[in-house]
């Protein structure tokens, strides 16, 4: 289990990195490497070149502004998780990040890297979609912002071009009167979830005005389902759009069952969260 040979570049400017990517069809970006290096070691991936962006300046930020949280390409999961400001602006970040692998992996792995790895079994791609966030992308062709809804093309496949680097992810903050919740069931603590469900709920007074659920491991792309009109049976509605599958750890029926168990729970928790925040806003 050793990687096949590859060329290696450790640029000190973004421009240099982008030029290298543009010039080498088989090049891949190395940030945290916690998803990529296992694939290299098993020789399931054999890029011709790695462009190591760890020496690039100004990409390690976790910046909190009024509209939300901006996470740079080199911000490690642990750094995002450790930010009390980020957790305050968007509580779902912390709820989900504490389920991402184990702390040691989170010390190296990057949140942006995890998002563009586009694994439907991972928490952060789903979180970005549920929160209707976006990713800022750079290439020699210029910069663009890709909304989460347009980011995921298929299993482990993002819509980014081979020459593009995701330089920042944007997670909108949680609006007053909105609430979030997350739960997952995994075989072992720290494993990929058998099923994970997050909820984002908006309320006005006692009324739920918008409710959406995000799912981990029950479809082959990160999936979000609007259940605003199905508050009494969110799972039933969601399952029409999900594709739970059999694997060695669980049957499709069990996964569907877990959706039925978790969906109402997280929906209720997010609704409570929304109401408690609305209460806080009134009585600070």
């Amino acid at each position: 289990m050793k990687p096949a040979p590859f060329a290696y570049l450790r640029p000190s400017t973004l421009e240099e990195a982008l030029a290298a990517l543009a010039g080498e069809q088989g090049a891949k970006v190395l940030a945290g490497g916690q998803s990529l290096v296992p694939l290299l070691n098993m020789r399931l991936a054999a890029p011709s070149m790695l462009v190591d962006i760890n020496a690039l300046p100004d990409l390690g930020h976790v910046r909190v502004a009024e509209d939300g949280v901006r996470v740079g390409a080199l911000a490690r999961h642990a750094e995002v998780l450790a930010s009390a400001e980020a957790a305050h602006a968007q509580p779902l970040l912390g709820m989900a990040l504490s389920h991402v692998a184990h702390p040691t992996i989170r010390n190296r792995g990057t949140t942006v890297g995890s998002i563009v790895h586009a694994d439907a079994a991972a928490e952060m791609p789903m979180v970005l979609r549920l929160l209707e966030g976006s990713v800022d992308v750079a290439s020699v062709r210029g910069r663009r912002t890709v909304p989460a809804a347009e980011l995921f093309a298929g299993p482990l496949e993002s819509t980014l071009g081979h020459d593009e680097i995701a330089v920042q992810a944007f997670f909108p903050g949680l609006a007053p009167g909105a609430g979030v919740a997350f739960q997952e069931i995994a075989r072992r603590h720290g494993d990929y979830a058998l099923v994970g469900v997050a909820a984002h709920v908006e309320t006005e007074g006692d009324a739920v005005t918008r409710a959406r659920l995000g799912f981990v491991s029950v479809s082959d792309v990160p999936t979000v389902v609007d259940v605003t009109d199905a508050l009494d049976d969110p799972a039933g509605t969601a399952l029409t759009e999900l594709e739970p599958a059999d694997d060695i750890h669980a049957t499709a029926a069990y996964r569907a069952h877990l959706v039925r168990v978790l969906a109402p729970r997280v929906l209720a928790a997010a609704t409570d969260h929304a109401r408690s925040r609305a209460g806080e806003a009134i009585h600070p």
Binding site: M1, K2, P3, A4, P5, M42, R43, I185, R187, R188, H189, G190, D191, L194, I248, H249, A250, T251, A253, Y254, H257, L258, V261
Partner: protein, 799 residues
């Protein structure tokens, strides 16, 4: 007086090295030798195929590649199949693989070519450039496919049956026919594996100046590897040294030998004249090192109104994988050890050992006992449920009683000897266990939990484990003139703390300070006669041998000291390394006794002057008496008539989530009897580890093969070994010490015990929580959910 070390919780001496990062495992060796070469193996991607052609022409173009071997390059004994280590008359169709596949591959992972290069990276590059043409053959995967025999693994074994064996005590079928009650059970256990944290590894160095081969291997038997290497490479045994350095866990898989690489590495080292290393990676460990456990069992049991077993008839089918290097040990152990602490009046067992196109099967900690225990304990639970009796009561009814030892089962055990239990007190153990787990208070707890909408269950399982099997182990004790004691025993160590436990024995037996004793294991240069570390035998076998050897050294020390002190041997005692005459000031330290034991012509230091020819001895007698030898040493071997039988009982309380079907462990209790304890801290550590491995085997781990014979979970990502978060938060342990009458220290083995009852005890507890039978292990939440669906229409039985 020296403090007694035997029985004390002495901190381990080996820890100092390990904690500083100074352990020396195989892959750590020769790292600073610039001549060292590394190797990689091309392994079959197919479960069953004929090899039409192997093209290695691209390989030697790779810069840094030194050599490549395929079967065509092997000669003499190396071109013959690997040895069948433990032949048995019932193993009528035993087959073993070649070091490199000759013309057929029979499992994904079977070695086909061996590449040696400057480093492992380059070796893997080279492996990826070997082109093999395969002719695909139908794979046989799983016991049902093997039994159906639509396809054969080996063309000359068309029914896939490697062995059929039957043993009977009394007339089980007649007893069942006449019994008031009869039950039938079908019970399955799936494949799992040892998965030590360190995989296999071998380094070899050929010294052309002395024509000597040194092999370091991560093995459970140095002497076994030595014998095989010598035989296969055509070397005299005296030319081969095998050293087992620190080993990162074994759990059974490293007792099988020689692995292909254990022969190919020395062959390459000799051929190339440079040291060569093989370090197995994790994926290789999954697909080319041994598995165990998969068996299907069919049970018929006849019993009376009290639950007393009148007749027990068990048939089972054992999946031994593609080859049978380790013979029938695993199924023989199941067939005999499933009896546990019970005495069915009549017992018949028959098994078939079957070929499948999967990785070979050799013993994994417990070695067939977890399956046997699962079968027997599920049967006990079924009888209890049927009769509406407490599960402990039915077990107690069937126990062998303390006054019935030695108890003869009328069967032949895995060592070819009578299955005769030496000692034990099962009723006493059961009393302890019930108290420890709170058996009698459980219904109250269940009601309390039910009121909160929570579901809990309790289970127990009992086992007896034959430990310390022969044929023998030996030890050599050498008291140096410094007074320090160097001890060698031949079996190997992979984490059991032998350097500590054996030193405790020596300190007591010899009367020396624990700190002055140094133990060497697994080095054929120091002790060429040995068997290996398996079957919970190290403490019993080498512990006893070391004790006996230390006694011999002591005897000699007393004889020489008596002469020097002009006292009678009967008046002498040894403490803290000093021999003294009781009640006087007269004394001599053991180092000086060692000086005196070796008549010298030349003094090499101040102390040794005392032993030179003008200072010592009666000039009228030979300096070394006719029946004596120089040096203060003792050497002895221990070879018991038969195994000693440890026993124990586990109980667990689990909670099953009514919604998610997740299984949580609330309480785990162990009562353990391995005779006299040398170091209770180490024994408890063995139990902890066994229980955790058992939790893995019961709730998490399985080898998931698809029908084409691909192993789908050949990684730690998908083969779910428990982390700290998956094991019980505490394990309550109580000991009973029923000494074995078979050895001088009264000890029994402890290494495997913790894992034996796991499948049985978890199945029992989950069944108790859920109210429907659990007949197949391991069990996942998904499977429990599916079982709930299947049993949803049944009326819920009242417990």
């Amino acid at each position: 007086m020296t403090t007694k070390m035997f029985g004390a919780k002495v901190p381990r001496v080996e820890d100092q090295r390990f904690l500083r990062g100074q352990g020396r495992y195989v892959d750590d060796l020769l790292t600073d030798d610039p001549r060292l070469l590394h190797s990689a193996v091309l392994r079959s991607p197919h479960a069953h195929a004929r090899i039409v052609d192997i093209d290695v022409s691209d390989v030697l173009d790779v810069e840094g590649v030194v050599a490549v071997w395929t079967w065509d390059d092997l000669t003499g004994p190396m071109a013959e199949p690997l040895p069948l280590l433990i032949p048995h008359p019932a193993l009528t169709h035993g087959r073993t693989q070649y070091a490199l596949a000759k013309d057929e591959v029979n499992y994904v992972g079977e070695a086909i070519a061996f590449v040696v290069a400057v480093d492992r990276y380059v070796a893997e590059d080279a492996v990826s450039r070997i082109r093999v043409d395969y002719e695909y053959l139908e794979p046989v995967v799983g016991i049902p496919a093997a039994r159906a025999a639509k396809h054969a693994v080996h063309a000359d074994v068309p029914d896939n049956v490697g062995a059929r064996m039957e043993q009977e005590n009394g007339d089980a079928r007649a007893a069942i026919a006449a019994a008031p009650h009869v039950l039938t059970l079908d019970l399955d256990v799936e494949r799992s594996a040892c998965t030590p944290m360190e995989g296999r590894g071998t380094v070899a160095r050929w010294d052309p100046d002395t024509s000597r081969l040194t092999v370091w291997s991560s093995t459970q038997t140095s002497t076994g590897v030595r014998g095989c290497v010598a035989a296969k490479l055509g070397l005299d045994l005296a030319k081969v040294d095998v050293v087992t350095p620190d080993v990162g866990g074994g759990f059974g898989v490293k007792i099988n030998h020689p692995w292909p690489e254990e022969l190919l590495v020395p062959l390459a080292a000799m051929t190339l004249g440079r040291p060569v290393k093989f370090t197995e990676d994790r994926r290789e460990h999954f697909i080319s090192s041994a598995h165990e456990r998969a068996q299907h069992h069919h049970v018929e049991v006849g019993f009376d109104d009290d639950g007393r077993v009148l007749g027990l008839d068990v048939e089972f089918w054992h999946d031994h994988g593609a080859y049978t290097p380790y013979g029938l040990i695993v199924p023989i152990i199941t067939s005999t050890q499933l009896l546990g602490p019970y005495k069915p009046a009549n017992y018949r067992v028959a098994f078939e050992s079957l070929y499948t196109n999967t990785v070979i099967v050799t013993p994994y900690r417990g070695a067939g006992r977890p399956q046997g225990c699962f079968v027997m304990e599920r049967t006990m639970d079924a009888i209890s449920t049927y009769l509406g009796k407490d599960r402990t009561e039915v077990r107690a009814t069937n126990f062998i009683q303390p006054d019935e030892f030695p108890y003869e089962h009328g069967l032949v055990f895995q060592d070819g000897r009578e299955l005769t239990y030496d000692s034990g007190d099962y009723p006493a153990s059961l009393v302890k266990l019930k108290e420890l787990v709170g058996w009698d208070e459980f219904e109250e707890f269940r009601a309390e939990m039910a009121a909160q909408g929570r579901k809990v269950g309790i289970g127990l399982a009992c086992y007896v484990e034959g430990t310390g099997v022969g044929p023998y182990e030996g030890a050599h004790v050498h008291i140096e003139t410094s007074g320090r004691v160097k001890v060698a025993t031949g079996l190997t160590t992979q984490g059991q703390g032998h350097q500590t436990a054996f030193a405790q024995i020596v300190a007591d037996t010899l009367g020396v300070r624990f700190e002055d004793v140094e133990i060497t294991t697994g080095d054929t240069r120091r002790m060429p006669y040995a068997v290996g570390t398996f079957a919970s035998r190290a403490a019993v076998m080498s512990g006893s041998a070391i004790h006996l050897a230390a006694l011999r050294a002591k005897e000699k020390a007393l004889r020489i000291a008596a002469e020097a002190l002009e006292a009678s041997e009967d008046d002498l005692e040894i403490a803290d390394g000093v021999v003294s005459v009781r009640g006087t000031d007269a004394s001599i330290d053991l180092g000086t006794v060692a000086v005196l034991s070796n008549p010298l012509r030349y003094a090499f230091d101040e102390a040794s002057k005392a032993a030179t020819q003008f200072s010592i001895g009666d000039p009228g007698k030979p300096p070394v008496a006719e029946d004596d030898e120089p040096g203060l040493e003792g050497k002895d071997f221990y070879s018991p008539p038969r195994s000693t039988f440890a026993n124990g009982m586990h109980a667990v309380i689990v909670e099953t989530d009514p919604d998610t079907a997740e299984i949580r462990i609330l309480k785990y209790a162990v009562v353990h009897d391995c005779g006299n304890l040398i170091n209770p801290m180490i024994v408890e550590g063995q139990i902890h580890g066994g229980v955790a491995q058992g939790v893995g085997g019961a709730l998490y781990e399985r080898m998931a093969y698809d029908e084409s014979g691909q192993l789908l979970n050949a990684s730690f990502m998908d083969f779910l070994m428990p982390y700290a978060t998956e094991v019980p938060t505490s394990i309550d342990i109580d000991h009973l010490e029923t000494p074995s009458p078979l050895n001088p220290l009264g000890i029994k083995g402890a290494g495997e015990a913790g894992v034996i009852p796991s499948a049985a005890v978890f199945a029992a507890a989950i069944e108790d929580a859920e109210g429907f039978p659990i007949t197949s292990m391991p069990i996942s939440p998904s499977e429990l959910f599916e079982l709930r669906l299947a049993h949803a229409d049944e009326p819920h039985p009242t417990v």
